[in-house]
């Protein structure tokens, strides 16, 4: 798995100063948006702007300092991008709070604090991502249990038709978001060991190398798990996410396009079957094709949320109404799944494209870390994390803008929701850890006289 000499010779710079500069810009986005919300709604800068901005800055500085010390070679773009998205999300949630008299923004700020704390902990405790490979099956089991938990009576709750929440005392969270991370680790650990068997055996049908029947086991298992999530928890989004994630990682590890074909066929078969059997899937497709027919109360108002979001985005146009000057509170639950509708309305197409590009940057940086990573496990984890962000963003923004049927996933870093925010901060910590490892100068061969005497070579880490 070692890379060609060219990369070995190229030494990455740490670029921590660049990260700090970008973080200042990210803070400006977050605090500026918060001030703009106050100006738009109440025509005055919020009174707590200093405290709020200070807290946000403190979180960001802590994250930066920890990265500087424990992951000095980590990618300098990821943290600022995430900070900007999180800050913008907080401001938009605050804006919706003002319209609807809720306190989601305060809770979200708490969750962000928890997220940053876990981000720091991950970086401090996990000094080498390859340690995670030991937990391949443990984390697989944990993911399965987490996915099953919402079905346990008394713990699981049905919110908006999807059985994806669990409650424990005053806390409630979506285990799917955490399972997402565990599954990436499991897939990477399993695939890095079995990739040769999955890649080499098989037969060629019509220019495409198809895998052997007996190797289909894992993909069939994953397919069944995804279908199970869909059928029993009626969670279309997570089901799609998990299966797509597995497919990407399988393809990357085996380098065989045949898996993509098998996977796509399985996906289409599953989707068709689900459409025929599951009424809530039919509803999603119908409201996607004919949103205006299901808008009124008389027709059940099934597409009210989608259509209101579309009206808002259309009204926002190129430049948007301005923060605090639109009516995003017309969209039910705009602070969670439909936060992009609120952004499209108040920040316009410009804000929309900016946010999509920020996500694009996260994905690009993840893939870049994967490309230069020296070990197979790290490569797979990075590509899996990047892929999961790309898929999640596509599924949720595509759903909100009526590109694809609505499936119901949170928008990473923007949407209100503790489990999602915390899980995504940990996701970024993992990406930073891998990129730090990948960008670190390669181990030097020490060839002094003393070493020559030894029969083994000592490898010194820089």
């Amino acid at each position: 798995m070692s890379q060609s000499g060219v990369i070995m010779e190229f030494v990455h710079r740490r670029r921590r100063g660049a990260e700090l500069f970008l973080l200042v810009l990210a803070l400006a986005v977050g605090v500026g948006a918060y001030a703009a919300v106050g100006l738009g709604v109440d025509e005055e800068v919020p009174a707590d702007i200093i405290g709020y901005g200070g807290w946000l800055a403190a979180l960001v500085v802590v994250a930066h300092v920890v990265v500087r010390f424990v992951a000095p070679y980590a990618d300098p773009v990821l943290l600022p991008v995430v900070a900007a998205l999180n800050g913008l999300g907080l401001a938009v949630i605050r804006r919706l709070d003002l319209a609807e008299d809720t306190t989601f923004a305060r809770q979200q700020l708490t969750w962000m604090t928890v997220g940053v704390a876990l981000f720091v902990l991950t970086l401090l405790l996990l000094r080498d991502h390859r340690v995670l490979q030991r937990f391949t099956y443990t984390s697989g089991l944990a993911a399965l249990i987490l996915l099953l938990l919402p079905l346990v009576p008394g713990i699981g709750t049905d919110i908006n038709g999807a059985q994806i929440w669990i409650h424990a005392g005053p806390f409630s969270f979506q285990p799917g978001e955490i399972a997402k991370l565990l599954l990436v680790v499991t897939f990477a650990g399993y695939l890095v060991l079995h990739r040769d068997a999955l890649a080499l055996a098989g037969r060629r049908v019509l220019f495409v190398d198809l895998p052997r029947g007996r190797d289909l086991g894992p993909i069939l298992l994953m397919w069944l798990v995804s279908l199970g999530v869909l059928v029993f928890e009626t969670d279309l989004g997570s089901s799609l996410l998990f299966f797509g994630l597995f497919l990407i990682m399988l393809y990357v590890s085996t380098e065989r396009a045949g898996w993509l074909i098998v996977g796509t066929v399985l996906f289409l078969a599953g989707a068709m079957a689900a459409y025929r059997v599951e009424s809530h899937v039919q509803v999603r497709v119908d409201t996607w094709l004919h949103p205006f027919d299901y808008y009124s109360d008389a027709s059940g108002g099934k597409s009210f949320q989608l259509v209101e979001s579309m009206f808002g985005m259309g009204w926002g146009g190129l430049l948007g109404r301005g923060l605090g000057l639109g009516m995003p509170d017309r969209i039910p639950r705009a602070e969670s799944d439909f936060i992009m509708g609120a952004i499209g309305e108040e920040l316009g197409l410009t804000g929309m494209i900016a946010v999509i590009l920020l996500y694009g940057l996260i994905v690009e940086r993840a893939f870049r870390a994967s490309l230069i990573c020296r070990d197979g496990f790290g490569k797979l984890v990075a590509v899996g994390l990047g892929g999961v962000v790309a898929l999640q963003v596509f599924v949720v923004i595509g759903g909100v803008t009526r590109l694809i049927p609505l499936t119901g996933l949170t928008t990473p870093f923007l949407s209100y929701g503790g489990s999602s925010l915390v899980a995504n901060w940990v996701l970024v910590a993992l990406l930073l850890r891998i990129s730090d490892h990948a960008r670190r100068p390669a181990p030097m061969l020490v060839t002094d006289d003393e070493a020559d005497m030894e029969t083994t070579q000592v490898v010194k880490m820089a």
Binding site: W315, L318, M327, M352, L380, A390, G398, L403
Partner: protein, 490 residues
């Protein structure tokens, strides 16, 4: 593993490009369509909280936004609700009609002509104010029309339209029964929908603007069009002797169904009478024969030249099209000669027939919006009168005027006669075609005959409490037309 990672990168890039293209499609290309979607409450809610421009009649508002202390900040108010409702329409949370709808862009401030104003407001941090719309209505004529029609009784159904013949300006437009648009503009939305449902289900149809949205058989007033076609053909003029008779059997018919009489007006009995007499006493037998002589084709073209089968009013909608049937056979053509069979006209259309004759044969395009002004009273646009069609030659118009003057001076239209001013007019009493339903009374006229300043059409659909024998265009419509003409001239 790097090759598949690159492939996946490109795949993800395509996903993101798809998202951006789709967002652009939604927020740029589809933006207008979404804004105009009737389900879209954002636009109307925003319009509600903006200072909407006033609708003015002779400098005085008939619709104006006053400050209110609720969440919408502005309350649309109609100072003269019943009289002007058919013109202004209403501006409710759920719907708009009339000028409120047709001039919505100006009134709300979104019109491109208000761009500079909007820019200045934006720079100064002021809230955008809507522009003002000034109507062509003459308040005196509108009062005369409204009072005259209302005086017929509490539940009268009818309409009055007055035009300025030389320009096409609508000087008066009244429709009864009417309604109070203030109730529909209220911010108490449940009472608004209740009021709306009630008005909408009322069998008397108060929400209908009968001046432009009701078509009825125009009856004898349509004889003006028949006479126009006959004179245009070159075979007749105002001093000709025309065929008449106590009865006339339509060609290709036998017995009572095809037999036309004059409802007891003995002046029509001779075989041939003067054209003036035929018009004065509205001889059905004459105009049936003239129509047949002109032919189906000729009648059709003449009717269309006056505006039948066409839309011509841009300032109010929806407008009902006045209809003249194509390809009629001989007995049907005979019936169209006195405005029966499938001939249907709006009061506005019949006012245009009178105005066209008054204006030397040229029909002007009717309009209601005179001026569009910005909130600070700058004139942004003034409607220029435009020709709709040349219905008849000036000579023919002159001959028709003579016939109409004679009808007022000597015949059925005498109730519209004025002291010292020559009036041209024509009555009509059209069979409704429904058993037991009283006929419709019509009256069209213009004055002064030598220098016309106003043309009027009065249509009375029903007057509860009056039976068939009392319904006559001259007796009911004549005095109203006279009052409106006097209001304009004096």
């Amino acid at each position: 593993m790097n090759k598949p990672i690159r492939t996946i990168s490109i795949f993800c890039m395509l996903l993101f490009i798809a998202l951006m293209v789709n967002a652009t499609y939604l927020q740029y290309w589809q933006s207008d369509a979404l804004d105009k979607n009737p389900l879209n409450r954002r636009i109307i809610q925003e319009a509600f909280s903006r200072e909407r421009g006033a609708i003015l009649v002779d400098g005085k508002p008939v619709a104006v936004s006053n400050e209110s202390d609720d969440e919408y900040k502005w309350q649309r108010t109609y100072p003269l609700p019943y009289k002007y409702a058919p013109v202004t329409g209403w501006f409710s949370y759920y719907s708009q009609t009339g000028v409120e709808q047709s001039q919505n862009d100006v009134l709300s401030g979104d019109d491109s002509r208000l761009f500079v104003t909007r820019l200045v407001d934006l720079v100064n941090g002021n809230q955008t104010k809507g522009g003002r719309v000034s109507l062509t209505i003459d308040p005196d004529a509108q009062n005369a029309a409204f009072d005259g029609l209302s005086a017929l009784g509490p539940d009268v159904q009818g309409a009055v339209v007055a035009l300025e013949p030389t320009t096409g300006k609508i000087l008066a437009m009244v429709s009864l029964p009417t309604y109070d648009p203030n109730k529909l503009a209220s911010h108490d939305f449940s009472s608004v929908s209740q009021t709306y449902d009630q008005l909408n289900e009322d069998p008397a149809k108060p929400l209908l603007n009968r001046a432009i949205q009701t078509t009825l058989p125009p009856g004898s007033t349509f004889k003006l069009v028949t006479a126009a076609a006959a004179i245009e053909s070159g075979n007749w003029d105002a001093s000709s002797q025309v065929p008449a008779g106590a009865t006339y059997q339509l060609p290709e018919t036998r017995g009572d169904t095809g037999l036309i009489d004059n409802e007891g007006r003995y002046q029509c009995d001779p075989k041939r009478i003067s054209f003036e007499t035929a018009m004065e006493w509205s001889c059905n037998t004459t105009f049936a024969q003239l129509a047949i002589e002109v032919g189906a084709e000729g009648m059709y073209h003449q009717a269309e030249a006056f505006g039948f089968n066409d839309h011509y009013l841009d300032d109010l909608g929806p407008q009902a099209e006045s209809a003249f049937p194509a390809g009629t056979n001989k007995p049907q053509t005979g019936q169209t000669g006195f405005g029966q069979f499938d001939v249907r006209a709006t009061p506005l259309q019949m006012a245009m027939v009178a105005a066209g004759i008054a204006n030397g044969g040229t029909v002007m395009k009717p309009y209601l919006v005179d001026e569009v002004q910005s909130a600070d009273l700058q004139t942004l646009d003034k409607t220029e009168p435009s020709e709709l069609s040349r219905a008849v030659s000036p000579t023919t118009a002159n001959e028709l005027t003579k016939l109409m003057v004679a009808t007022v001076n000597e015949g059925t239209a005498s109730p519209a006669a004025m002291d010292g001013i020559e009036v041209a007019g024509k009555t009509g009493t059209a069979q409704s075609g429904v058993e037991g339903k009283p006929p419709y009374a019509w009256f069209v006229s213009f004055a002064p005959a030598d220098d016309p300043q106003v043309a009027v059409a009065v249509m009375i659909e029903s007057v509860p409490g009056k039976d068939t024998s009392e319904i006559a265009g001259g007796a009911l419509g004549g005095p109203i037309a006279k009052a409106v003409m006097e209001a304009v001239i004096r």
